[in-house]
Homo-oligomer: 654 residues x 2
């Protein structure tokens, strides 16, 4: 049966003239034992909520997954898809892409991400089991990981966290083939991987990855170990290929027609390409039905469960009916109470309204809980063995946090958010990108969003991060100006179910600017006129976040000088640019356009044009009290007004 | 003596009303023993090339470093600087900033970076020792690291690499205080750190970080161990503070006047703020002179050395006189031979000319050597115990590679470059940022720079990375169009000594477009007219990299249709935008401006204005052969020409 996987991988890579045959050939035995004996799944419903999750972290071995889905009889993964491996429009992309087929649990390829996704999935399983009980939620998470996955730093963060949280239902099958792209892993790595994982509190075992009895024994060991478990499977990359097996030549390129032919001969596989003999096909199809009885039993439990409606709701990602009520009340209260709050504080207030209303909302912070203000009382705290809480101490592990949040979102049933400083979004970027690519609802609470954080200095002051996050497709970057916009941004981030959102929030206090309550969520427009000019507009000040207050103050000066000036708040460029062009033009006005943001200007030309003015940063920040920094870098109401007056041919000293 | 460090840290944080007193108070004993007994330095010349490197990876404890520099008598770190801790214009920024004082070896604060910098410094030491001999190069690298440093993924990559390379002169002093910002480290971490580092091949030891004899013994152990060494120093955070010691309250905020007073009393420190009694001051000053004799002996060896001139040259970062000759010859040959090469291949050709000419050039790749084409024969390969090579197998460790390259550059004497795929620049981003902030000459060879990589699909296809890298201040992003521009970009990246550069290179072949040799480096202009229009310009096609050839083909179509069209190649936006505005406007022309780049448009409005056209990507890529992807996403000569004709009111089907 394993040879069927090998043969299909060989054939597909040859047909595509591109791909990675070595890993599927090496791990075919392990995958066969896992899928035919241990993995809980039913090919008839690949989205069965209580299935085991299978994550191919070594995504370059995608043909292994596609062959498994095909052979076990998954609809939509017929032989034609395998023939079209790596072709435009097929479901069989070079690396597994979430959404292309329901049996693909996550998008993998960037190394280490799948492993950390799996940690998130295992966390989600525990949290949902705590809420809905073992009769509805009781499944395992299995990962196939490569040397490369384990060399990546994110593997440390993810494995350390899994050990700490004692994720006993997580098993990593390490394809220990000793080969990476450059050659022997010994060229760059001398780790004792088992000892390393033992240091994290994992159970570990080393086996021959081609010995089915040993593999089966190890899977049993993993199930019984009571800890997350790493099985190092010694395998031969490109197993069966007469000259390329065991070498980097089998890793990332087709074997070539002759070697492919010889490999099949060596495996005793005497069939034409893309052909599986009936007996083997039947055995695989049988494996694909192994879980049917379990699934039906689960469905019966589910139908009887008093928690059914709620379980279905969270699995479908539908928010509770009244989820906005508390938030709206807070928004209305703000407009009248007009507090001066940092937007990170406003975010905590919003969460205080949201957390009780949305039980599937789970939060956390990368060891900056008190700075990000991500924790609220209603949530409780997750700790090893206590899964009733809803706030996770991720530790100083931004990257694993973001990738595990992807896993939580992908698992279904929970909506994750997590906090760190905006500048450290750089540490999470590969995972943020994948959230956007996979269209997952994940919210990043990124505080300390400019030089406004003050004394910590340039290492901690983001200047390029707003621009660089805005560059990621399908990511919404919100930078709310006050407590009202913060509440609105939270509502939008949670309401969208097709992608992630950033909330960029201040450390320093800002005044309430939206002092008239609007039932409409104005942030949903992306940008809107906060204050109209007193007459025909001569200037429009367009700002985000903490700089909107500066724009408002600059407008006062300009209006006093006889310049009719409007203020546009622009909390979300992505949403603004979705409005039709006429609306955009009307909001931005025909006069001088001035952008104000304590960040680099990249991307602002889209609204300013070549004739606009930009007041912001042109380089890195500095260490000092924040008011002094704003003055030092010339981002003040006086500086804005002066620049506008000069541009309009007026002497600012008048 | 240690109490002097504690008292100064308390005083400075109190005066600034901001900062982290806990770490300096906890690690004062370890730092005192290190600086008074083991660290090789001479305060009279903090840039002595053969000094030991001291890296405060836990940069939030910056007052520890500032106090050490002050007490040991470093010029430029007088008491006034300590009084101005965290104030604008002082040298005592919230986190240590390279360049503010010569005794600050690297900028730290983003956790894990310092540790990986130190690995790079230790690598540089070994490589330079191999070249110049132990009489000139023989020093150690010492790191103080926190729980947070060791939780970060980059610590895994860096430590694993250091173990593999057996960097015996690297010692990490782990401030094992059990406290992070959120509280006990036990909230999020259960690692057995010693076992973990042992799994990497490190020597390890646990000591009482307040027992001077134990500390001294451990430093000796590290020196003798023959392996990189981790000393876990059990310390009490905020040692001496009566109520806050040992708790997170001492971590990131001033103690407050009362607690500060009580702490000093408890320490028996009965002096006014910023006051050190003469006897203690004298002992510290004596420590600052400890290395004077060693330094003078070294200077004598240096003066006698036949390698002196070369050693001084590389330490000063001056390139050899004739370094351009081979590259220029290659550039000239290309213009006449007109090869069709991927720019990654052209980069390898450039390196074949550069590597023999610049012996201080050291390369490497994050396990993509054969894809990035970073290796050339003249370089040899670094392996454990063999430091004569100049190409490093970094393994699948992009982040550590980038941070260690910072360390290599900071150490001095070497110019590092390293390769991975452009999409994985996301994994390196925190370190790229620091290279830009610290103005270090580091070159990133980032191949597979668009959908042009084809079948590997969206996970591997950068679309937002050019924009997001262009957002980083002081980073040059080169995307050369052909082999000539690739050679020019290499010349510019190496010639600049005030910051890092990216070379974004194609996987797929591109034609030679610069078919007339120009002695001038046109890439230095950032953007220039590659092909002028046949008459008064109606359109200007502005493109980068592989899309310049598309622009050239589109121009043919347009000129044939009677539209006078120029092509501008824009290999480096940063350099282009440094030209004066009139020159920019002349190059970009007055007609319709069309940007062409197989990436998102963010940033292009700067040259296109609001009335320009952009042909590129608006979302993520897809898996398939690259020619099909270009057609699928509408980035072809025909599509460009059609869009221009439509915009100019012409029917493209005519």
């Amino acid at each position: 049966m394993a040879d069927a996987l090998r043969a299909l991988a060989i054939d597909a890579v040859e047909a595509a003239k591109s791909g990675h045959p070595g890993m599927p050939m090496g791990m075919a035995d392990v995958a066969t034992v896992l899928w035919t004996r241990a993995l809980k799944f039913d090919a008839a419903d690949p989205r069965w909520p209580d299935r085991d999750r299978f994550v191919l972290s070594a995504g370059h071995g995608s043909m292994l997954l596609y062959a498994l889905l095909h052979l076990t009889g998954h609809a939509g993964m017929e032989m034609e898809e395998l023939r079209n491996f790596r072709q435009l429009g097929s479901r069989t992309a070079g690396h597994p892409e979430f959404g292309e087929h329901p049996g693909i649990e996550t998008t993998t390829g960037p190394l280490g991400q799948g492993l950390a996704n799996a940690v998130g999935m295992a966390i989600a399983e525990r949290m949902l089991a705590a809420r809905f009980g073992r009769s509805l939620v009781d499944h395992r998470t299995w990962v196939i990981a490569s040397d490369g996955d384990l060399m990546e730093g994110i593997s440390h963060e993810a494995a350390s966290l899994a050990g700490h949280l004692r994720l006993a239902k997580l098993t990593v099958l390490f394809d220990d083939n000793g080969i990476s792209i450059d050659g022997s892993t010994g060229l760059s790595c001398s780790d004792d991987v088992l000892k390393r994982f033992a240091s994290y509190g994992w159970a570990t075992k080393r086996i021959d990855g081609h010995d089915h009895a040993e593999i089966a024994g190890a899977l049993g060991y993993a199930i019984r170990s009571g800890r997350p478990t790493l099985i190092a499977c010694r395998t031969v990359i490109g197993f069966g290929a007469p000259t390329k097996a065991g070498s980097a030549a089998a890793h990332g390129a087709p074997l070539g027609p002759e070697e492919a032919q010889a490999a099949k001969r060596a495996l005793g596989w005497d069939y034409p390409p893309f052909t599986v003999p009936a007996e083997i096909a039947a055995a695989w199809a049988e494996a694909g039905r192994r879980g049917a009885r379990d699934r039906l039993a689960w469905l019966r439990r589910m139908q009887r469960s008093p928690l059914r409606a709620e379980f279905e709701r969270v699995l479908q990602g539908r928010l509770p009916d009244e989820w906005r009520a508390g938030l709206d009340a807070w928004k209305q209260a703000v407009a009248s109470e007009r507090p001066k709050l940092a937007t990170r504080q406003a975010s905590q207030k919003a969460l205080e309204a949201l957390a009780p209303a949305i039980p599937e909302l789970v939060g956390g912070s990368a060891d900056l809980t008190g700075s990000n203000l991500t924790h609220v009382k209603a949530m409780g705290t997750v700790s090893p063995g206590n899964w009733g809480g809803r706030h996770i101490h991720w530790g100083v592990r931004e990257h694993a946090m973001a990738a595990a949040m992807n896993g939580i979102a992908l698992h279904g049933g929970l909506i994750p958010y997590g906090g760190t400083f905006l500048v450290f979004s750089d540490y999470m970027r590969p995972a943020i990108r994948l959230a956007a690519l996979m269209r997952q609802r994940v919210v990043y609470v990124l505080t300390h969003d400019s030089i406004g954080l003050g004394e910590d200095g340039p290492t901690h002051q983001p200047v390029e991060h707003l621009a660089s996050l805005r560059a990621i497709p399908n990511l919404y970057v919100f930078r709310p100006a006050d407590a009202v916009e913060t509440a609105e941004a939270w509502a939008l981030a949670l309401a969208r179910s097709d992608g992630p959102s950033v909330l960029a929030l201040t450390r320093q206090p800002v005044p309430t600017l939206r002092t008239t309550h609007t039932p409409e969520n104005l942030t949903a427009r992306g940008g809107y006129v906060l204050l109209e000019a007193s007459g025909q507009r001569q200037a429009t000040l367009i700002a985000t976040g903490s700089e909107v207050a500066i724009a408002v103050a600059a407008r006062e000066i300009l209006e006093a000088a006889g310049i009719a000036t409007a203020v546009v708040s622009m909390p979300c460029f992505e949403l603004f640019l979705r409005q039709d062009e006429a609306t955009q033009a009307m909001i931005l006005g025909g006069g001088l356009r001035v952008g104000i943001e304590a960040a680099v200007s990249l991307g602002w030309d889209r609204v300013l044009g070549l004739s606009g003015l930009f007041i912001g940063m042109s380089g890195f920040g500095a260490s000092g009290p924040y008011e002094k920094l704003y003055r030092h870098f010339g981002i003040t109401a006086e500086a804005v007004a002066g620049a506008v007056l000069r541009r309009l041919g007026r002497d600012p000293s008048e």
